[in-house]
Amino acid sequence: MSEFDPLRSLWSQQKEEPFAMSLTDIHERASRFQTRIQWRNAIEYGAGALVVFAFGAIAWETPDWGVRAAVVLIITGVAYICWKLATIAGAARKDDGVSWADFHRAELVRQRDATASVWRWYLAPLLPGVVAFILASMFSPAEDVPLIARLGVVAVAMAWVAAVFFGIAHINKRASQKLQEEIDKLDAARRG
């Protein structure tokens, strides 16, 4: 690939533009980058805390112990999801000096694992709380509704929850398969 190539010649004709970034600028930008990461983490934890606070207020206010228990289950599920999000969100570092294929593969594997296990870390932790909330709300002693109507509402609510959960699982399963295909293609190119 060392023969004269007009494209290479054209490429090398590009003029260098003035660019000044002193070491002080670099140090400052690198330190700002760290601060930005810390802020992003703080915002994520803050959002989780807000959800916990909102549901906690419901649990505090409601006189129904069934609803209260359901809300506690939801809070536990949300807290678990936040923790899992924080642990699986770590993308490969761009400044690790690894090859593009290793860098890209690490990111694909991370996304594949997250989408393939969405039942375990996202849907399953929410399920007990959501089901308990529907049941507790519908069978609350305070509600003066005929049993058949309650059962009907529970059935519709459960069917809706099941449809949403299976929809999320299906979308993620397809995404996971596509990511695996990309990983296989990349591995084939690495082997040559």
Partner: protein, 171 residues
Amino acid sequence: MSEVQDQRYAQAAAEFGAALQRLVRASEANPERRRDLLQEMHVALWRSFAAYDERCSLRTWIYRVAHNVAATHVDKERRFNRASVTLDDIEHLPSGANIAAESEESDAIARLNALIRQLKSPDRQIITLYLEGEDARSIAEVTGLSPGAVATRVSRLKGALAKHFIETAHV
């Protein structure tokens, strides 16, 4: 932060500053975002030298870091509003006549950069490294692909780009 880290960065910036600018032009069309990307690349390079362990040459290391920064940037941009094409699609790209109207110094260079920007990874990395004068072995070290796969792709990319240039030159 150590003095060695600063020295290595200064050496890298002096030797590869122009190559980084060319890579940035082939990765981002918008001048403001291009400047940000170049700055991000320099910061990533400086950060990377804290962990440089000579497992590969300085040249390979610099290209790896720079290309990983560029690839991340392009992927992020593409998720929002950009389209990329595969190696097989490049022959069906629209004429360069409109692209050449971009405010760059040379129409041909602008067209070349615009074409490369539309390529997907790893074709974009491979062709920019080839244009920088790297051989298949060096490109393989930076990208992590096999030298054979790189040589095949370089040949196809060169052919596709050259064909596109000849066609648009006659528009």
